[in-house]
Symmetry: C2
Subunit: 563 residues, 2 copies
């Protein structure tokens, strides 16, 4: 829904390049977009009916198009969620700076502040209720309709936006330009998919409600887009630096009074909430992907507040990178948006075509035709959008989508190999004990070494202390102190070959005890949290790195706390 | 020695602000600097005699001025080492771009490339031999003297540097400006300290050789500075964008022929080697400080190639930050340099005054007088330099020095607390075994769990398996699989309170076995190196974090490798 605030803008921006004649074509281009919207709405009604568990394009592709296509769908969804956050925030901030021009110049900073705020709220597990959505949505829709009706009734604009408008020259308008404007405006269609992804969150009867929501959304969106396009032509709105098209239209219809600020403010809130929906969607999607071994498992680990922190953080960081890269300019981000959306649309429709071919339920012929027509349309739209916007940033999406797919494929492969090692496939043999030897590397005679040896003696009967003689340390002093202490444990002195502790210890135990289970006890003082973490030398890390290369070696950490 | 290439430049740059009358004062200012140089050289001869083990200001302050003063000296040395790298590289690149103006505009990039190169060589443990220093030094000194003599014999400059020189207007020259020029030029004195820091690296008889080197260096430096100042006045050299003063002088004396390129090239090589000396000095100093518990111990850990990697890396990163901050402009960095040097000088001299008061060896009165005079002079110079350069970047040094000192104090405090826990002070009690219980957290029935239980059985008689029932997982399926496997180990099912594994396990074992030594065995698949490291969920890290808070708990890691 929020896409109304950046869709028309994108069309105007492109057509303005062709001057007055171009702007005159806003309405036809918008009608074409509305037509596509109608087809998409109808075919997504069917997606909702066929996949009542949600998941949208990913679910359809996984069921009907095989593993790789589902990964492509997942990648396009990930890209869309990230772009939705970036575009919504950028558009919201653009609405804000239109209303308060004094904020210009801080655009990127405001965007990042909003992003950090939303991310932090989501990390804390604070979620908006559906009710929070209601009020701004109603105000926004009512506001837009008021703008449209008031604008249609008026013969003269109530006020003209400040700022220098581009002067228009009348040139011929090429097909290329029309295609470009069309593909830009398609960014307004992104909302269609959201409902199909979120069917499970509807109240029962889910499917019927979700379908109705889809149609209502599609209808409202179409009417608003066309109404705004009519107004754009009527008031001859053209791109003005620092004021959005929607802001200009509102000013023209309602004047620069309280009504203007209400609409602008509702736009800002609605866009912030639109950005927030990604925070519900992406972490859920990445959790599903992690469960399917396509993403690292930590994406599936919930925090104590039931938040998938890795998903939320990844989303925040990716959106921050986009906002910084685009310097908070919404018109730089919108071109990237449509591609991922159309890839997802196309896959979903192709999947639905297969669905009808397999199901052959009542009326499958015309349903198949509808989805097939949608698939062709969205496929063409995807190609057109990519071609038209390639140099304006679409190359980034063309690059990122396959990279994401390849990465997920490789992660899956790695988990398969790890799974073989875990050996969950068949019932494991029963566990059996083996004779063990406990090795304690000691660097000094101290209370800490005493703790380590005590622990080692509790673990096994056969305990050996080893000391690596590092360059610049006195072996004599150590052995003297050891003899004075006289613990009841044999001591082995190892020469140091390469200024490391790990190498000599690992070599010694693997050569001396090839057949036994080796247990190495490492005692450390655990520094308190915070900057103190940098204090320990990394000797024990190095030891552990060397030892973990040995099979049947268990490394035991005994950590003594600093009070 | 290399400081000859940026000292005179700094003086000219300041005096040029006062126009022709100002530049006429280059010689007097240089004479004042040369006087300070003479005093410093004489008093550092005494530092060398009193501290034949090197360490310079840090050693003197540690012996005679107490702990805190030694930290201030150490901090000023650290700052100087870092600045030496940054200034030397920037000056070397300035000499290069003077000779090859086409390289202008890439200054910062060339600086960083040289820095990365030097840092990489040092990380690999490749050190320059003393011989490597000889040739460029001899060529450089011979070149400078040739420039001076040829310049004095010439009545007209052989060539005038290209580029637009600032036009001069004759204004009165204030005292402030003179002080500023003086403090800028003092950057040329930085070499004096280097010899006192490095006494141990001289061949025997160390002290005599080091003292002789100090006097020779001081003498050469003084003569070169004065000679260049005379030439600057004679040829009325003024600052030209993109050409160093030394380059202008060389051109004026020798013309733009082969001689010019030889001198410039020797300057570049000498400055690169000068930057490299910091890589010998700083890691050694930070190793000493780490041994004294004033820096994290990893600064004292040598790599297999006998390199103190943390010191080298820290130096490289700090110098990179400075070079980026100054955009590779040597004249932005030189003002920062003198402050740290003078702080170190002052501390060393004050320490020497105390030394003579305590020692009262032959001729102590006049030695004390000399060091006292030096202390007053360098103290005044430190104040003047800081005041004059405060807004030009000296605030950074004024900020960093105390921060470094406070950080080192706090690190020392933390190590003292850790040392108390280690308990090296007295002979520890003999180690004693205690009754133990071995706990194995199991998340699945698999080959891996079998490994973990086998290891646990080898470690202790009393083995318990625990399973945390996480939300969304089927406890029923797990217990069924467990019963089918039927290992000879009791199983405890724990409820999950907050979506973590660590909390329930830690609570269970600390409540159930308050008096026993607790051993927890965690089995993991160790992914191969590289990006696979991100794959494991952080469940076992989280488990370890919780468990390390418990006293007398040993966490054992069993890692199974992926082939």
């Amino acid at each position: 829904m929020a896409s109304v605030s950046y869709g028309p803008e994108a069309v105007v921006l492109v057509l303005a390049a062709a001057g007055g004649a171009g702007l005159g074509l806003t309405l036809p281009v918008t009608l074409a977009i509305a037509l596509l919207l109608a087809v998409l709405t109808a075919s997504y009604r069917q997606v909702i009916a066929a996949f009542p568990n949600g998941g949208g394009a990913y679910a359809v592709a996984r069921r009907h198009l095989g593993h790789r296509a589902s990964l492509v769908a997942a990648a396009s969804l990930i890209v869309d969620y990230v772009l939705n956050v970036a575009v919504s925030i950028a558009a919201g901030v653009a609405a804000l700076t239109s209303a308060f021009p004094a904020l210009h110049g801080y655009t990127a900073w405001i965007c990042l502040a909003v992003l950090v705020g939303i991310t932090a709220l989501n990390l804390l597990g604070i979620r908006e209720s559906a009710r929070a959505f209601m009020a701004p949505t109603v105000i926004f829709v009512a506001g837009i309709f008021t703008v449209i009706i008031a604008g249609l009734l008026r013969s003269q604009p109530a006020a003209v936006a400040a700022g220098t408008a581009t002067t228009l020259d009348f040139r011929t308008v090429g097909l290329l330009l029309l295609l470009k404007a069309f593909s830009s405006g398609c960014a307004a269609l992104t909302g269609v998919e959201a409902i199909a992804n979120a069917v499970p969150s509807f109240a029962a009867p889910k499917v019927a409600r979700a379908q109705r929501a889809e149609v209502v959304l599609g209808g409202l969106l179409g009417v608003m887009l066309i109404g705004l396009a009519v107004l754009i032509q009527k008031f001859e709105v053209r791109p003005v630096d620092g004021t959005t098209v929607l802001s200009q239209l509102t000013e023209a219809s309602l004047g620069h009074g309280i009504g203007y600020y209400v609409v602008q403010f509702a736009t800002v809130v609605l866009l912030a909430l639109a950005a927030n929906t990604s925070y519900g969607g992406l972490p859920t999607l990445t959790k599903l992907l992690a469960d399917d071994n396509c993403l690292p498992h930590r994406f599936a680990v919930a925090s104590p507040r039931q938040v998938y922190r890795y998903g939320v953080l990844t989303l925040g960081l990716a959106a921050a990178a986009l906002l910084i890269g685009a310097n908070g300019d919404m018109n730089a981000l919108v071109p990237l948006f449509a591609i991922g959306v159309f890839v997802g649309f196309t896959l979903a429709q192709v999947g639905m075509v297969r669905h009808w071919l397999l199901a052959r339920s009542k009326g499958w012929q015309w349903r198949l035709a509808l989805n097939g027509f949608g698939a062709v349309l969205t496929f063409v739209a995807a190609i057109v959008t990519t071609a038209m916007k390639f140099t304006e940033g679409a190359w980034l999406i063309v690059l990122v989508l396959p990279l994401l797919v390849v990465a997920m494929e490789r992660i899956r492969g790695a988990y398969t190999r790890i799974g073989e090692v875990r050996g969950t496939a068949e019932l494991p043999r029963p566990p059996r004990p083996r004779e063990s030897v406990v090795v304690v590397p000691v660097s000094e005679v101290s209370e800490l070494s005493c703790e380590a040896l005590s622990a080692a003696m509790s673990i096994g009967k056969d305990v050996v202390a080893v000391h690596v003689c590092l360059e610049g340390e006195s072996t004599r002093a150590f052995t003297k102190a050891w003899e004075a202490w006289h613990p009841d444990v044999p001591l082995v002195l190892l020469p140091d070959h390469d200024a490391t502790v790990g190498g000599p210890v690992a070599r010694y135990i693997s050569e001396k005890y090839p057949d036994r289970r080796k247990v190495v006890v490492v005692a450390e003082v655990d520094p308190p949290l915070g900057w103190n973490r940098v204090l320990p030398s990394h000797r024990s890390d190095e030891l552990e790195r060397e030892l973990r290369k040995l099979s049947d070696t268990v490394v035991c950490h005994l950590r003594v706390q600093v009070a």
